[in-house]
């Protein structure tokens, strides 16, 4: 395990993570607004990197286990961990943005999938279901619930729409390190796994394939794609478990009111 052992975060520590999360939420919204036909993935990476540094933070992904860029960008059949390049996104693509930063030693990790221009309705549906799966999972992430409740919520909702959840990659605890215990799978049985308590901070991140759940890693040792070539969407938030319920630390400005209406604290 990297860095320190898992421990519950104190309220003042969650407050600090809220600061890093707020900047990351704004960063992702900024980058998402730049997704348009003809824009290169490297250009989007530069937007993320500049935004993070301009706000006094450290881009967390660059150099992490050797990852070469400040943001992961995964297009269409790419699930996660795509490396930005001179590839230009095209009208109709779906683009997954996954970014992390560090402020005063505290990590934030979040992401979303956005359409490039006008996309086919089935692709928009995939994005919508993935985002909704995340929101539903967040709503159940409160004291007394279990990690398995989160996974079960994601899996049942996603599979009810005919999609599959990726099982080979999972969400995680987060704090002084990006990856801390516990693992947060997108599948599971209710009432199993760790019981959530105030002070848990976890990154919940559904990865949803239109086809089967199998994935493989490309020769760059990072980019994860679907085995069957189907398209995939992803969404992620860093969430603190508090006495009052889930607190979404990485809320984006445009979704603040939506999340606030869904039994979640934001910001």
């Amino acid at each position: 395990m990297r860095g320190e052992s898992f421990r519950l975060k104190k309220p003042d520590e969650i407050a600090k993570m809220s600061h890093s999360g707020e900047i990351l939420g704004a960063c992702l919204e900024h980058v998402a607004n730049h997704v348009a036909p003809g824009v290169t993935l490297n250009a989007l990476d530069r937007e993320a990197d500049t935004f993070i540094r301009d706000h006094g933070c450290i881009p967390g992904f660059i150099g992490y286990d050797g990852f070469p860029k400040s943001i992961c960008i995964s297009v269409n059949n790419e699930v996660v961990h795509g490396i930005p390049s001179e590839r230009a996104v095209q009208e109709g693509d779906i683009v997954s943005l996954d970014c992390g930063l560090i402020l005063d030693g505290w990590w934030a990790d979040s992401g979303l999938t956005v359409p490039c221009g006008t996309v086919a309705q089935e692709m928009q549906d995939l994005i919508t279901v993935t985002q909704e799966a995340l929101y539903r999972a967040i709503e159940v992430a409160r004291p007394g619930a279990h990690i398995g409740d989160i996974g079960h919520t994601v899996q049942t909702y996603v599979e009810s729409h005919g999609y599959s959840v990726v099982k080979h990659y999972v969400g995680h605890g987060i704090g002084r390190d990006m990856h801390e215990p516990p693992q947060v799978p997108n599948y599971g049985k209710p009432g199993t796994g760790n019981e959530l308590k105030p002070g848990y901070v976890i990154a919940i991140e559904p990865m949803v394939n239109m086809g089967r759940d199998g994935v493989r890693t490309l020769d760059d040792n990072w980019t994860v794609v679907t085995q069957d070539g189907s398209w995939s969407a992803y969404a992620e938030h860093t969430v603190a478990i508090t006495e009052d319920g889930p607190h979404v630390l990485t809320v984006r400005p445009a979704e603040r009111s939506l999340l606030a209406s869904r039994k979640c604290a934001v910001g």
Partner: protein, 71 residues
């Protein structure tokens, strides 16, 4: 950024994760827990997750390597 996942159902596991490893040693988890961590570089480091039956690896590492290390 998500992390790779490998899990075994062991006698201590109540989470019901799907067994993905071909290894049939039921207490493989305990063996891993007690093993020295490879330290050649970050990418090869074990990520031990402190959950009752689960640990994860960075992208690119598969279950075969886990089994060969713990056999």
């Amino acid at each position: 950024m998500t992390v790779g996942f490998s899990a075994w159902r062991t006698h201590n596991c109540s989470a019901g994760f799907i067994p993905q490893c071909p290894c049939t040693v039921r207490d493989v988890f305990l063996n891993v827990q007690q093993a020295s961590l490879p330290s050649a570089n970050e990418h090869n480091r074990w990520l031990f997750w402190g959950v009752s039956c689960c640990f994860a690896l960075p992208a690119g590492m598969g279950t075969q390597r886990i089994c060969s290390l713990t056999a």
